[in-house]
């Protein structure tokens, strides 16, 4: 089943597009990596897919009947979040709000879902800790857990390992791979090409021309060294 289908999309702020001619599909259980230089429009593409920005032209559809609000998103951390007084549990369960239409409070199902996604991302023991006192790696796992709480079908991850040390990075990749193996489709922006291509299936290469290829094709083209 095709979860999200992007056709001849042009993205950008204002009139001039940052990137154009983008077409790809994300199937159920897929793993797509988005690579490209700084400023090539990776984050912009992801925000457009999430409906945070309007596309300049082209279209994004959900052929499989998934709703646009059923995507889990892990974005780049904002200034506000750094000293925000919130417990891990409060943040994770806030991912369930897209299932709470018309309900002001969380029900048992929401609490179970939050517990399950904390379990899957290995942060159950951090449940009552304060977000601002966690390490960078732990914070990223909390945000991943929230994304997972919002969707068990498709996760969009914007540089989930930026600023993490090698151990935390490996742990993050292990969790993401595990989630993907269990059937969650993943779209991930990354600069860490070598490690992420080991777990990805297809690569979207952003730049003057936007190209979609398999990992094997990408490696062949770049001389087998990733970059």
């Amino acid at each position: 089943m095709t979860l999200i289908s992007v056709r001849d999309l042009a993205i950008g702020y204002g009139q001039t597009p940052v990137a154009s001619g983008i077409s790809f599909d994300v199937e159920e259980g897929d793993f797509l990596c988005i690579v490209g230089e700084n400023g090539s429009g990776k984050t912009t593409l992801m925000k457009t897919m999430l409906g945070l920005m309007e596309p300049l032209s082209g279209g994004i559809t959900f052929p499989g009947g998934m709703k646009g609000s059923e995507i889990g998103y892990l974005g780049q951390q904002t200034q506000i979040q750094k000293d925000f007084p919130a417990s891990v549990y409060e943040i994770v369960i806030s991912g369930r709000l897209n299932k709470c239409a018309g309900r002001p409070f969380y029900g048992k199902e929401d609490k179970d879902a939050a517990a399950r996604s904390m379990e899957l991302t290995g942060i159950t023991d951090l449940r009552n800790r304060c977000y601002r006192n966690l390490s960078g790696g732990q914070q990223q796992r909390v945000l991943l857990s929230r994304a997972l709480c919002a969707s068990s079908k498709l996760l969009l991850l914007d540089e989930p390992v930026s600023g993490l040390d090698p151990d935390a990075t490996a742990e993050m990749y292990r969790i993401v791979k595990e989630l993907n193996d269990s059937g969650v489709a993943v779209v991930m922006i990354t600069h860490d090409v070598d490690a992420s291509l080991k777990i990805a299936r297809t690569v979207l290469c952003m730049g003057d021309v936007v190209r979609l290829m398999t990992v094997a094709e990408y490696l062949q083209q770049t001389g087998g060294q990733g970059k």
Partner: protein, 280 residues
């Protein structure tokens, strides 16, 4: 001491003042948490100056219940500040400053040009610092205040989870189908209501203190959104109550006594927070 307090409590206007004071401090501290976290602390300041300007017009027009005019205009001001902040190229805080000083200056100007009473500076001082007008509240004003407070509290409770999500990460909230703009509007309207109510209590210059002190103090002590919210409500109500009782007993101005109590509480919380962090 206690005798004196009991004696004062026998007067209905003292009881009214206490009720209004507690309600206003409760509502303002509820909203304070999200405002402080979003770096919106000063929206309260700007809006209170708008409210001051409108109050001046209401005085000139000799309206019996000035809330009828002040409330809608302040809500309008809140919406304007938000819209302007997100649309134009000017910085949000610059817009706030523009609106705030203009309203203050025009308000004072209007009061002077169309002087209603002989004691202008007394009137101005009363609107800026709250003075004793809280002790002259009529029954209808108290009812109005209670009604509006119930609205603010109910809306806050029903929107609590969504407000948290939008405050923590408005991009994520929008991506999962919330409407952050709508909640921003809601918060602006609620804060406009609270400020209009608070004008009587501490006046338009000091109202920001009621909004930010309890939230800032609680953030030093607690690490979850719920605990911070609950604690700022408790701290705020305690301070307002203590401040009002004190001011009645020793005859100090109500507004500044409450704010002084808030300040002391904030400093104490800073110390406790610092000690805890140091001890770890």
């Amino acid at each position: 001491m206690i005798d004196k307090l009991v004696m004062y409590l026998a007067y209905p206007f003292v009881r009214y003042a206490l009720i209004v004071g507690v309600l206003v401090s409760l509502c303002s501290s509820l909203l304070g948490v999200t405002l402080v976290l979003r770096r919106y602390s000063f929206i309260g300041d700007g809006l209170s100056h708008v409210a001051f300007g409108t109050m001046a017009i209401a005085t000139v027009l000799r309206l019996s219940n000035n809330m009828i005019l002040v409330l809608p205009v302040t809500i309008l001001g809140a919406i304007l500040i938000l819209k302007a902040g997100s649309r134009t190229r000017m910085q949000g805080d610059a817009i706030l400053a523009v609106i705030s000083v203009s309203a203050l200056a025009l308000g004072y100007l209007i009061m002077n040009v169309f002087a209603v009473s002989a004691n202008i500076s007394g009137d101005v001082c009363a609107t800026l610092f709250g003075s004793t007008s809280i002790l002259t509240l009529g029954q209808s004003e108290v009812w109005m205040c209670m009604g509006l407070s119930v609205v603010v509290i109910a809306v806050f409770i029903f929107m609590y989870n969504r407000l948290f999500s939008v405050t923590f990460d408005s991009d994520f909230a929008k991506a999962t189908g919330q409407k952050p703009e709508r909640y921003n509007m809601l918060i602006a309207i609620l804060i406009a209501i609270v400020i209009t109510l608070g004008m009587n209590l501490v006046g338009s210059l000091l109202i920001t203190a009621l909004v930010i002190f309890p939230a800032l103090a609680s953030m030093r002590l607690f690490g979850s959104f719920k605990a911070v919210t609950v604690s700022s409500v408790i701290l705020s109500v305690v301070c307002a109550f203590a401040g009002m009782v004190l001011s009645i007993m020793i005859g100090t101005p109500v507004g500044s006594t409450i704010v002084a109590a808030d300040l002391v509480m904030f400093l104490i919380c800073c110390c406790i927070g610092g000690l805890r962090r140091g001890g770890r």
